[in-house]
Symmetry: C2
Subunit: 424 residues, 2 copies
């Protein structure tokens, strides 16, 4: 009777006098393979003799539920092939029972991820994107793939990677900012992009990489930043609601975190109010600058305690801390129509109404000390008609880190990149 | 009576003695805005005086169906604002009635894409991805975001971009090949990635860019290349079937192409047979090399004529034209378990069973003259157990070009990159 097949990694080998038990796993499935030394074909017994932990096998035979075995399913093989032999000793224990140090784990990420809980992270992240895209598709968004090789730095020119390009110099896009704006000026109503962005940031922190996945949104014919915030919060409520349905229990059991689908509207707090709150809590505030990461944490805790919310929109950022393309307030002339969205005390989004008027944009670029001749290609997008528009950038790994309760963005990154790390 | 709002670009301005007609469009919508010079508020008439073609406006007023106007919908504004004024003259005619030359079009891509038919391309491409992902999600695939900044060239080292990276040298990934294989070795069963790949290819052809969007698939526990071909054809039938439902009529009317959902199995032709066919048709064949682009066209025409098929799998590629990581035939020891998929005479996919056995992989890399010490990080993926696996890379813009009947891949690329082009 042959009715089953098992392909996978050998997790455990228990070699008793007359019988060998193998625990074999593939993604999301575990089977006990039981080999009776006497009763089994010689080829099978020979194959098993060579086995080491984490080797891979293929086996065919009688597959059935057996309440006596831990995994529930048992296969008695009539045929078996060892498809690869794992070298010994393993550089780390892939069961996760004894956790290796950080460097060893990421050097041997291929073994580190064999722990099922770690692979779960990427299943949940995959679904985050599925649900995000569900909302975009329903709402008529176009998906963009904008170039990462660009002729001039896309932001301030600081922290940009440069490379030789057929006798010229190219740069790696720090964000799809300029090109998603071009899409709006080209007549697309709503666009998004999911792709890598590159930051030549020399620092090592728990929340920065030199390359990460950015999710970018730009919406045309939007005439107030409030409209954009209302869009983003509805979008997030959809994603988190769907994630809770599918993964709520797993999050609780495997990661010890409660997924709370937030109420809308999220609280809005101006930068000035936020600075007052942070200062009152005894954390130093530089009024001419952005909140520090400690400041963000204090504000996150405050919002949770006072308002019972994980999310908060930080609004009315001063002109000095925002890029030239953010639209400036026509009321106070000091702040921008922009926001950061914080989740559990960490910035996950920057959003803004964009300056779409050619003359104003040129003036603002000059005021910020930008090299306007380098920006000509970008400014040209606004020369022949430009709708009002607004958009945001969203850090996929940052929200995953907060959602799953990790302390380092690398835990939710397949292969992190920082100044010291280009391998594997 | 105010019941409507219009936001968009001004396509046409017809200024008659007593009345001004504007045609205003946003993505997928066209409305006639009618301003009676006598009956309208002065602010509205003043706003219109300044207008140029392709400027953007916002207007509110009485919106109703009017069978007398070409666009069906008419707005009589009580309020109107000009949100941006387009400079004059326009560098190209965005209606598409008089087509500018290629360089002008792509220099002013922001205006070029205002032609609705050109934006349609990206709507159809967005749906291509939606339907591709639909299939992946249903089938339990994980979406990867692998690093594009890597420590060693991912393929042969030819045509790779290099850049300084914090005192070291980094390279831009030519494909996610190595990392999707790592995912399989890390225990994921099925993975895909959609993202940019980079090729420092100095040539200018209708089918190459230096950066393009690759869709990559890798499947674990696959033990024959036939299994992979069967997967890819089912996946494509799903996508094309869904595309036909939604876009079949538009493709016919706007692009003059008939979308044919193919029958499975697609024909399989060995490389040797293909070379015979091409040679017989009078096109020169280099037996030690891949088919030329002319050869591909001949084969595409042959398959269409003889078998009524647009797709054909080209199989049994000789070892000499395939990379070291393709598994070699254990039968003839001369060919690889790999294929190309051609669509209407153009290669859109390369797929292969991968060599998963560490020792064999090292030997094959050495034979191909690879610098094995540079590949250590990759070879390490296979040291501690590696399931059999197979996968393919798929060119999104190449299939779109064939599907829509374009002669140049740039037509279906938002902003193409080639050796001379880094702007816009």
């Amino acid at each position: 009777m042959v009715n089953g097949e098992v392909k996978g990694f050998v997790e455990e080998i228990r070699d008793l006098r007359h019988i060998i038990f193998l625990t074999v796993y593939s993604d999301g499935r575990r089977v006990q393979v039981t080999i009776k030394k006497d009763g089994s074909p010689k080829a099978v017994v020979d194959a098993v003799e060579k086995l080491t932990r984490q080797s891979t096998i293929w086996a065919r035979g009688d597959l059935s539920a057996n309440p006596a075995v831990k995994r529930g399913m048992e296969l008695i093989p009539t045929e078996m092939k060892v498809t690869s032999i794992a070298a010994e000793p393993l550089p780390l224990d892939p069961s996760g029972k004894t956790e290796a140090n950080f460097d060893t784990r990421f050097k041997w990420r291929v073994l580190d991820l064999r722990e099922p809980r770690k692979r779960l992270i990427f299943k949940i992240m995959t679904d985050f994107e599925v649900f995000a895209r569900e909302y975009f598709t329903e709402d008529g968004f176009i998906e963009l793939h904008t170039p990462k090789l660009i002729g001039a730095p896309s932001e301030s020119g600081a922290e940009v990677f440069a490379l030789p390009y057929f006798g010229k110099e190219a740069f790696l896009a720090q964000s799809p900012q300029f090109y998603k704006q071009m899409a709006i000026c080209a007549g697309f109503d709503k666009v998004f992009e999911v792709g890598p962005v590159f930051r030549a940031n020399p620092s090592h922190t728990y929340r920065h990489d030199t390359e990460f996945t950015s999710l970018d949104v730009e919406i045309g014919h939007v005439s107030s930043i409030e409209e954009l915030m209302a869009f983003e919060e509805k979008w997030l409520v959809h994603i988190l609601g769907r994630l809770k349905e599918r993964w709520g229990t797993v999050l609780k059991e495997q990661f010890g975190t409660e997924l709370i689908v937030p109420e809308t509207p999220f609280p809005r707090i101006t930068m000035k109010e936020a600075q007052d709150i942070v200062e009152k809590a005894g954390v130093a505030v530089d009024r001419s600058s952005d909140l520090s990461s400690d400041g963000e944490k204090v504000l996150g805790a405050y919002v949770k305690e006072k308002l019972g919310q994980d999310f908060v929109f930080l609004t009315e950022f001063p002109i000095s801390v925002r890029p030239f393309y953010h639209m400036r307030s026509s009321e106070d002339h000091k702040t921008t129509y922009s926001y950061d969205l914080l989740y559990k005390g960490l910035e996950i989004t920057t959003g803004a109404q964009r300056e779409h008027r050619y003359d104003v944009l040129v003036k603002q670029a000059e005021e910020k000390g930008m090299q306007v001749q380098n920006l000509e290609f970008y400014l040209n997008f606004f020369k022949y008609g430009a709708p009002m528009h607004a958009g945001y950038g969203f850090g996929l790994t940052r929200i995953m880190m907060q959602l799953l309760g990790f302390k380092n963005v690398r835990e939710v990154t397949f292969l992190p990149r920082d100044p010291d790390t280009l391998f594997p």
